[in-house]
Amino acid sequence: MLGYVARRLLLAVFVLWGAVTVVFIVVRLVPADPAVLIAGETATPEQIAALRAEMGLDRPLLLQYLGYLGKAVTGNFGNSYTQNVPVTQLIGQVLPNTVLLAVLACVFAVIVSFPLGLLAALRVNRFSDRAVTTLSLLTQSLPGFWVGIVLMLVFSRKLNWLPSAGLDSPASLVLPTITLALPFIAILVRMTRSGLLEVMGEGYIVTARSKGLPERTVIFPHAIRNATIPIITIVGLEFGTLLGGAVITETVFSFPGIGRLLVTSIQVRDYAVVQACVLVIAVAFVLVNLIIDLLYGYLDPRVRLS
């Protein structure tokens, strides 16, 4: 188990390093000079040159990269180009909101999708299975931002039940949570169904039945414990999609989260904020997957003991 944990940790660190590097490279691809962006159109060449020196842009690329790595490790992303406050501060204000939203959506999705997936798997090819799978396929096909708009149109503009934007009360969370959770639910339902179906064909399920265990016990814990392993993996991989969805959902609902900060920063070309936001999201993804890898080791003794 220790070797497994060490391997996973090492991989996570490597991926984080890769992500940080990719962001560095991509931001250097920006055709515009950040110093020009910050100093403004009216700045004199001298002012710009001074700013370049101050930002370290005149140093060799490798030194810039190393300095950037050092800062990224300590969580220092410099100041926002447009607002002249530390990026960390900007992100600190919105990150908890996004975490709250993502956690709510995850919990909601798991609570809804697990029973539905179970139902579909146990009634495979019957009406309830068809209904659940069709519905989840439909949900998966709907553009997330469009769903948000329609929900907003119906529940806040027409019915006036829920607030349409911002984060002023717990009620403001309802629509963004649903919007964000829907595609996740769709995927989870399908994965639960196919994961269970696959497990139900295994030899040890036949054994459990031949032991005379009631079907209820055959499914829980025999089938569920095994089916959970692939499902959890999918949850980890799809967590990235969820984070991407957060960017869109937050934009639709003007939700003060990191996704919206990212989009607005892109619009004003505030690349200091952009790169920090992208990094924070990548870190979140890597961390969640690290946790899931460790969970995987816990759930599957074959992984743990090999």
Partner: protein, 279 residues
Amino acid sequence: MTDRPAGPAPSPVLRVQHLRVAYPIRSSVMLRRVGEIVAVSDVTFDVGPGETVGLVGESGSGKSTIARAVIGLVAATAGSIEFEGRDITRYGPQQLKAVRRDMQMVFQDPYASLNPRLTVRDQIAECWRVHRGQLPRAHWTDEAKQLMERVGLNPDYSDRYPHQFSGGQRQRICIARALALRPKLIICDEAVSALDVSVQAQVLNLLADLQDEFGLSYLFISHDLSVIEHLSDRVLVLNKGEVVEEGAVRQIFADPRDAYTRALLAAVPVVRPWLESPT
């Protein structure tokens, strides 16, 4: 078909000396080599022209590893493998390719050893595609059909796919494919183990007939002692990667010297135990 001069009769087709195969154990983090699992150690034997040498042992005895080392699917860690006098142990891909014309293999699982997306004809013709110049393309279909007929398959089915055949028929296709380059040595790795006993007998008879007809040598690997006893001239008994006993098949089955061989033979189920004299 190309005619090849017959090699000098007395010299062995295959000579394996002090063969050792070890798989490295790599650390999971950095792929560093931290140790090795010895699959085969110090195995020496010859296969003469027209001879059948049986390798018998239980799982983990290293018998399949020997087969895979001889055909070049795994690398030998030490020792030498000579084919017709040439040491092929350190051959590169191009040289090995030439050797492989003369050395073919039949695998255990007739369902897995045929490409599901190729017709029987293409399955057999694949080796002519790989070894350009062996047979002009125009003759492929005819030659494939002739081979099918030779191994007891209806040549009219040459356009069918593997899933349309039964297990025994698939193994016949594999044998036809192995014969297509007119090899001198065929390695049979558990080639009849997955077959039903009535079909297994057919395939064993076919292998015996082909040996007579083409003067083939067989390296025959099996866990089934009765199959080895039936087909082999000489036999090597393997245990945990080492040869524990070697000799003519009659001698070993009648008078095993090694304790492991004796245990192995004692464990073989007897069809009519009531006919055995109590010992």
